[in-house]
Symmetry: C2
Subunit: 469 residues, 2 copies
């Protein structure tokens, strides 16, 4: 039996940031706080691998970009504390993307065909369409593309007509789910600035936070039960997988959405009393996506090393059978030869159902990707097989079960933000509302991103500091 | 003495559309309505010239693009009534712009230097900066550029640092005023879609409206005095320049902002009683810009005919003396060789103070522009002198006195919208509020554009129809 003032469940960046804020507040000492992490590593869905590469390059298998670079709190705190120098440690990989399709040799003539302009138009129309009224029909991104093309076909050239709907599917590589599942209403993104690729590996931000935290951090320590207000004392009891307990005044629950949504199984957290109905209903209206990555390392660079990134659009028609086929889904490729000049590797982003398939069958990755990647060949020789293939395992990891939250047709993220963000009065669990939530799924600004998770941890900690005073 | 139900002051697109709606309503007959236009032509700041060209091309000396093409009412009505076919009569001239600077040979390497990304970033930061709080300092676009560069210089490459502030000055060619006068807070524009260049000449929309209107239209008929509620009868009396009168139940005042702002002189309209203080105060907080155009026709095409448009950035430092110098202000160039394939002409957009200077000294236009335009030469020969030069006259036209409304530092457009739009209860003039306003300066959505003017005329007419019922 342990007794703590604050127990933080989950050692990802939101939990670590929460501990950091609590420790800096002066209201708690290091002995008052404990972080419980189920896995044998910290960082959660930030995971920088420095060992699997045969080329000596770090790969972020989870989050990799500082999105919203104008306002990203992790970026700014890292610049301020001296751990990150933007143009040395990062790379703005936002040169116009080179786009390829099966039926076309070489990159599409994007500028002359003004494909980016039409994509911008489609995104703007998504906003306008849903602003027309509250009763506008919920639909998938695929169906929305049909609505746009139908309404504006007189504005579109033959090339634009041929490619615009297929290009719009690049959203799949933001959300990690296929376009026929993406809810169009929530697809438009209001980016707060550019995307800065982190060459240093996002793990640096985790490592730095850990170096600033002197409270107890227990790895491989899974919480299996959370009893709130035990004995009416406004204290909570957490049961751990080894049968021991932690009694605590405050809890910050930062486990992934996928764990909160579990009803059973070894990773399930049993709530006593059960989660209130508004919370369970909110959790039913949001789900996990699975952005996955395949890293391919080669002996030699055979693609255009001056491009930042490549987009390969899918065929217009696909069968959607059990096993994903090449050309059925778009892929997005980060050109490491540009990010780390001279490095012969490509990092390919995938979405569901491809991510799950390739994570289960990593040996199939090259076979699946090769027909599409051949399009990028600008060398005089045949494309060689990779010397090394690294595939993520987010769908297989029972403590992650995907990458980050996504909104599918029939869903709506608003309720979960209301129930879990703690930004509204009367939410939080327990009689004193002293069980708080944090993580990428609990925040609107920066949702799905590391700075959102980080800010949510800060928010939960600040509430507790204020309450404890 | 004439007696009418509705008198429309001004025969631009807002006045014409107002008449059209009134006539279609069934509430008024053609004998109930009169349009009074001070000039000898209709259309106002829509002016398609079909005579001055030596190459047989129409030039829009005023409005030329359908902006906000996703929602532009004039565009949609024109498509619907069969007078405009988008890809035949229009051209989306939004290929990535080719940018030139004095110190650089050939176009800037915009894509590799990611200059467009930084410009997008600056515009986004403009929004974010002013969302930070209501007390954020009012500043010019030039000063804002300094704030951005100061805050984000660690993110900017040497090329981005060199060009970003100068590139941001392209806003001058939206507003028609120099960047040191543009109010940064109101500079961000939320475009509702792409810009469609009207190859047909915007005059077609004026001509079509006129063909649909069978009420009396008096040209060269200037209103000099508006007496409201004469003899307490809720009728108004308009005095004309020839000393005659029009008595009327309703008035729609569509004269330009510049005429409303006049205090004296032959174009002034005397209000009896004077305009209420909230209106005059609102008019003090918005002013006229002067987007001007210079058309240069040549014997031969000596520039890159595959580009839609060119942007020439000014030097970093300028003297701002009495007479504008080449390289002091950005210019924006429409490549007619692309819009009308094979046509050897360029249309150059200018801003104040350049517009006023060139309109007063049209013979100086080539001398002013040539040093900058030489940058575009891709031929093997020397750039020839133009065979024809056409310069607009908006600043010289006493009934226009500029192009359209603009917001300068120290100003704010909100009050004039509140006072003149008629979208709020209790505004409009006269005891029955039966004096209404329309025109590009009276509307938020589409302000400064022909679709805004058109919508404002519709709005005024619909109010009158509703009131008359």
């Amino acid at each position: 039996m342990t007794s703590k003032s604050v127990t933080i469940v989950g050692g990802g960046i939101s939990g670590l940031k929460a501990a950091h804020v609590l420790l800096q507040s002066g209201v708690f000492t290091k002995d008052d706080i404990v972080i419980l992490e189920a896995q044998n590593r910290l960082g959660g869905r930030i995971k920088t691998d420095r060992e699997l590469s045969k080329l000596g390059v770090p790969y972020d298998l989870g989050a990799a970009w500082f999105h919203d670079a104008l306002t990203n709190s992790v970026l700014y705190d890292s610049i301020e504390n001296g751990t990150f120098v933007p143009l040395k440690d990062g790379y703005f990989d936002d040169k116009d993307i080179a786009i390829y399709a099966r039926e076309h040799d070489g990159p599409l003539d994007t500028n002359n065909w003004k494909l980016a302009r039409v994509l911008e138009d489609m995104e703007k129309y998504m906003e306008l369409y849903y602003m027309e009224g509250l009763d506008v029909k919920d639909m998938s991104l695929d169906d929305f593309a049909k609505v746009y093309v139908d309404k504006y076909k007189a504005f579109l050239t033959p090339e634009q007509l041929r490619y615009c709907s297929r290009l719009l599917r690049y959203f799949e590589l933001w959300f990690g789910i296929p376009s026929y599942e993406i809810l169009a209403k929530y697809a438009p993104m209001d980016h707060q600035g550019r995307n800065l690729y982190d060459k240093k590996g996002h793990g640096f931000a985790v490592d730095h936070l850990v170096s600033q935290i002197d409270c107890e951090i227990r790895k491989e320590t899974q919480v299996t039960r959370i009893q709130r207000d035990v004995k009416g004392a406004r204290r909570h009891r957490l049961e751990l997988a080894d049968g021991s307990f932690v009694d605590t005044d405050y809890v910050v629950v930062t486990v992934p959405l996928s764990i909160l949504k579990l009803q059973e199984g070894p990773q399930n957290i049993v709530w006593e009393p059960p989660l209130p109905q508004p919370v369970t209903e909110a959790l039913d209206k949001i789900s996990m996506g699975a952005l996955g990555k395949v890293v391919l390392e080669f002996d030699i660079i055979w693609w255009d090393k001056t491009q930042d990134r490549f987009d390969i659009v899918p065929d217009e028609v696909s069968s959607h059978g059990q096993v994903p086929q090449s050309w059925e889904y778009p892929i997005y490729i980060i050109n490491y030869a540009r990010v780390f000049p001279g490095t012969a590797s490509l990092v390919i982003l995938t979405q569901l159902p491809v991510t799950e398939y390739l994570e289960l069958h990593p040996a199939q990755a090259w076979q699946y990707l090769k027909p599409m990647l051949l399009k990028l060949n600008v060398s005089s020789f045949s494309v060689p097989d990779p010397i090394n293939t690294i595939v993520t395992d987010w769908t297989k990891n029972p403590f992650a079960r995907g990458a980050y939250s996504a909104i599918r047709t029939g869903e709506c993220p608003d309720d979960v933000i209301i129930q879990l963000s703690g930004e509204h009065d009367g939410v939080g669990l327990g009689a004193g509302l002293t069980i708080r939530f944090a993580g990428e799924h609990t925040i609107a600004d920066g949702g799905g991103c590391i700075h959102g998770a980080y800010d949510s941890g800060k928010r939960a900690a600040e509430w507790i500091v204020e309450h404890a005073k």
